[in-house]
């Protein structure tokens, strides 16, 4: 099994392999055991599906958590006895306890940010698309790739078990700022649950490093003949920058997490100084709680681009295919991804304008943060121009791509408020922030992911997902996302702080009770519709309409030159050679020209 995979790896590098070898390998794969095919698989396509399905399970859990805490926020005066049946002491009398509320909020954030939108999104599409779109038989190291999934699985198991600890899982917010997260006395969630969180994240970081290094080396070294960097689809560019960001920033979070583990368990004082907690005077002196925030946000900011960039790439690809037009400004699209990736490293302290950061230093972070709006604007206008005079096919993937652009605009523009330190003083940690990042990195990235799933589902399973359910899924989610998050901006402009269990005792904020009830109701409907998507996904794996042609979307990229259900190794014969960029749609009167077609005699230049 493993020698077979190494064998593929070498073939990929050589980019040339004989037919004999391939018949042999097909024969071999026919006998593959269940374990090596579905569990400890080294086929990048299977690993992608493992990431996707694990991510979906996490998304259901994380989403359900938000539904539960929205019950408390929307209906603070009501009791829900069934909650006590399920959660026992965490919901005595059918009311969510404060500790439980904060545990739910923390887990919701952690799960969605890391386990769903990092592992579930990049893990899935980096694994699935890199070899298929650059013309390789598998990743540079299929074995490390498999390990990457299993470290993610281990991280998942640890995080999931932390839900069952007697003192509960971590409850200090997904940003786990010390000293709150360092002191068990300060919060139930900072007891054993926090150690589980940190160890789980350490495993997660290992997973993401193994994956990231693999993605980078595969993209750099294993492209098929003719696939120059500037002929790569934008998906691959986006995934490439995502991987670079992850590899350079995740280790910093790892160091931050390890120091926190030391402070918690070994009596060090990296983050602790002059603390009196619940009347107890602690001996720690000389640490800095702010140090952790620097370490955290050095990953935390790039992290939002790690989440968003694969979506940027997939949306560009899906939009071009379904507009039957080239993506407008390919090089500008690559350039803006590059600019966003570079800037991502230089803006972390915009999360810290009100921590007592030196105002002079803050000024640079304002400048660099608002600079991000320039490449973002380029992307938006390029997408708009891609749609302009196209011939648009509204496949479910295309709907989500267009929805993505709408959300990216809405959420991106509010970033201009928050990145400006003067306004951040007022808006920091209010619902304005909640609205901003949920729209631009939460829902928008989900839209990118949905676009990807609907678009590449036929390649994954050889079947289509059901269109009617997909349309319902899209329209309810788009409308719901705006109904949930648009009004939150107003609460933010009223200064309403985030992460409050209950606003009824606040004269300044209690006028939003109706709004909260409305948001909670919509959130439940939107959650139910996501279940419809999950149902559609699994139903279609077995019962979906069968794909009958190799290239159902009329697409130029290489994955559509493989058989309908490609085996391990992707192409039964030689890997095709690439002769052109991937966006020749509608050129010289032709609907599309695949990347593998040589440049014709009298073909025009673009």
């Amino acid at each position: 099994m493993s020698s077979e995979s190494i064998h593929h790896g070498q073939q990929g590098v050589a980019a040339a392999s004989s037919h004999d070898l391939h018949e042999e390998h097909h024969h071999h794969h026919g006998e593959e055991s269940f374990i090596s095919k579905y569990v400890f698989s080294q086929d990048h396509k299977m690993i992608a599906k493992q990431f996707l399905i694990t991510g979906m399970i996490w998304a259901i859990i994380g989403g359900l958590f938000s539904v539960i805490f929205r019950l408390q926020l929307g209906y603070p005066e009501m009791t829900f006895p069934f909650l006590e049946d399920i959660f026992g002491k965490w919901a005595v009398g059918g009311r969510i306890s404060n500790e439980f509320y904060y545990a739910l909020v923390t887990m919701h954030g952690t799960i969605l940010v890391f386990f769903v939108l990092t592992a579930g999104l990049s893990g899935t599409f980096a694994n699935f698309l890199i070899p298929l779109q650059i013309g390789a038989r598998d990743m540079a190291s299929p074995f490390l790739n498999m390990l990457s999934y299993w470290f993610f699985f281990l991280a998942s198991v640890i995080m999931f078990s932390s839900l069952f600890i007697q003192t509960g899982p971590a409850a200090g917010g997904w940003t786990i700022y010390p000293p709150l997260s360092a002191l068990g006395q300060a919060s139930e969630g900072s007891k054993l649950g926090m150690d589980f969180w940190l160890v789980s994240m350490a495993m997660f970081i290992v997973s993401s490093l193994l994956g990231g290094l693999n993605y980078i080396s595969t993209i750099l070294n294993m492209r098929t003949k003719g696939m120059t960097m500037t002929r790569m689809p934008l998906t691959i560019w986006a995934i490439f920058f995502t991987a670079v960001l992850g590899v350079l920033s995740f280790p910093v979070l790892l160091s931050g997490a390890i120091l926190l583990l030391f402070d918690r368990n070994l009596g060090t004082s990296f983050y602790l100084s002059e603390i009196v907690v619940k009347g107890e005077i602690l001996p720690n002196e000389g640490g800095s709680a702010i140090l952790f925030q620097h370490l955290f946000w050095f990953l935390g900011h790039p992290e939002v681009y790690i989440i968003l960039m694969p979506a940027l790439g997939m949306v560009s690809e899906v939009m071009s295919v379904n507009s039957r037009k080239p993506i407008f400004g390919y090089l500008a699209m690559v350039g803006s991804l590059f600019a966003i990736a570079i800037l991502a490293f230089l803006v972390w302290a915009h999360h810290m304008f009100v921590t007592g950061l030196n105002p002079f230093l803050g000024a640079f972070f304002v400048l660099l943060t608002l600079l991000i709006a320039v490449p973002s604007a380029i992307k938006v206008f390029n997408w708009l121009t891609t749609l302009w005079r196209g011939n648009l096919r509204f496949t479910p993937a295309m709907l989500f791509a267009i929805g993505f652009v709408s959300l990216f605009i809405s959420g991106g523009l509010t970033g201009i408020f928050l990145g400006n330190s003067t306004l951040d003083i007022h808006l920091h940690d209010t619902y304005f922030v909640v609205a901003h990042f949920h729209i631009v990195m939460g829902v928008a990235s989900f839209f990118g992911m949905f676009a990807g799933v609907y678009h590449w589902f036929p390649k994954m399973y050889g079947r289509y997902m059901n269109n009617t359910m997909a349309y319902i899924h899209f329209w309810v989610t788009l409308v719901g996302a705006y109904l949930i998050f648009w009004p939150m901006h107003y609460a933010g402009l009223a200064g309403m702080p985030r992460r409050y269990t209950d606003y009824s005792n606040w004269h300044s904020f209690n006028m939003f009770a109706d709004m909260n009830r409305f948001i909670s109701t919509v959130a439940m409907i939107v959650f139910a519709v996501q279940l419809l998507f999950v149902f559609n996904f699994f139903y279609s794996i077995w019962k979906g309409r069968k794909v009958t042609t190799k290239n159902p979307w009329g697409s130029n990229t290489l994955e559509w030159t493989t058989p309908i259900r490609p085996g391990h190794g992707n192409w039964p014969g030689e890997i095709p050679e690439v002769h052109r960029w991937p966006y020749d749609y509608g050129k010289d009167g032709r609907d599309y020209i695949s990347q593998i077609e040589p440049i014709g005699e009298g073909e025009s230049h673009h």
Binding site: V277, G356, W388, F394, I402, H426, T468, F509, R545
Partner: protein
């Protein structure tokens, strides 16, 4: 009971949707895929336009409903707040323009360029001129926003005026404690190891430092209208945040690292009641940094009043040192003698005398 009812309805809705979805797939096979595709395409294109129109109406309606509940509906209660509101309006204007322009184009294009057999997509791969335009124009607007933003930022974070009133605010799970420097204008030294709430020293003041003897401690913050105030911000256990929505100010309270902010309150609490038309109006301090299970209840009060009202209030306050001393004398004279020997022997009588003299 109603829970099961809702579940049953949900399951039913699911089933119906699923049956319709399945049926529509069969119909599409009967009608021909091409025809179904075109029909679906038209429906979705139409829905995009509907979404745009309803979205714009919805945005207007939402604004109508909620704007008056935001702080922008009334003037900011501090000088810094006025600057921040100005910046906010400018940013709202610029981003609002871009928002409507791009969203309308997006959904309009989606509708207008929907698939028809007649049209061929226009091969348009790039245009340096266009790309230059939408690099430069946003850059110019951003320069404006950054420039003005930083101008205000340095004003707001600059040094407080010399005559600013000093107030110390300390956060702990889950309340705020205030301290006033008293007549000498200097806070007494603190040492966190001396913290002893049960003996009246919740802040860990070092009574050996004579300047602590006239310091006042309070649970509310009293400020004088039109007089600049500088807050010295501390935290004892975890990070908190002094959030002052009406003054548009905010600053973290970090254990071990004191921070500050300053502003000038412009309206007394009474005046604010008039301005907002809300007879129950109060200036609330909201903790804006997740600090544990009681985070949502960590509230403080600020009372902004005229100089006379403030003077009247401060006259009723007794220095914490005296309270502590009195309590100790009452409890056990011997112990007091001991503790005072180690803590405040040289200054035990003097500062009190000073207080009465001034």
């Amino acid at each position: 009971m109603s829970g099961y009812f809702i579940l049953a309805i949900l399951a039913l809705a699911f089933l119906v949707t699923f049956q319709i979805a399945k049926a529509s797939e069969y119909v599409s096979v009967l009608k021909g895929e091409e025809k179904t595709f075109q029909q679906n395409n038209r429906i979705n294109a139409f829905l995009f336009i509907v979404f745009l129109v309803l979205g714009l109406i919805g945005a207007w309606w939402c604004n109508d409903l909620f704007f008056k509940k935001t702080l922008l509906a009334h003037p900011a209660a501090s000088d810094h707040g006025e600057k921040i509101d100005k910046m906010l309006w400018l940013t709202l204007g610029v981003t609002g323009l871009v928002f409507f322009l791009t969203q309308i184009l997006l959904f309009w294009f989606a509708f207008k360029y929907q698939y028809t057999e007649k049209r061929k997509a226009y091969y348009f791969a790039h245009s340096n001129k266009l790309e230059l335009i939408w690099t430069v124009v946003p850059a110019i607007f951003l320069t404006l926003l950054v420039g003005l933003g930083l101008f205000y930022w340095f004003k707001i974070t600059g040094d407080a005026p010399k005559d600013a009133q000093l107030v110390e605010i300390t956060g702990k799970q889950f309340n705020w404690m205030m301290r006033y420097p008293g007549k000498d204008g200097v806070f007494g030294r603190k040492n966190y190891r001396l913290t002893d709430a049960s003996n009246g020293n919740a802040l860990g003041v070092d009574w050996e430092d004579g300047s602590s003897h006239d310091d006042l401690e309070s649970t509310e913050m009293h400020l004088v209208v039109n007089k600049p105030v500088q807050l010295v911000i501390n935290a004892q256990d975890v990070i908190h945040d002094v959030g002052l929505p009406h003054f548009r100010m905010k600053m973290d309270a970090v254990p071990g690292i004191p921070t500050t902010l300053w502003f000038t309150p412009k309206y007394t609490t009474a005046k604010m009641k008039e301005i907002t038309g809300d007879k129950d109006f109060v200036y609330e301090i909201a903790c804006d940094q997740m600090c544990g299970s009681g985070h949502y209840s960590m509230k403080g009060l600020i009372i902004v009043e005229t100089q006379e009202e403030y003077d009247k209030w401060i006259a009723t306050q007794k220095p914490q040192y005296l309270t502590v001393k009195a309590a100790q004398t009452e409890a056990s004279p011997k112990v007091v003698a001991d503790t005072l020997k180690t803590t405040a022997v040289p200054a035990s009588a003097k500062p009190i005398a000073q207080n009465t003299q001034h």
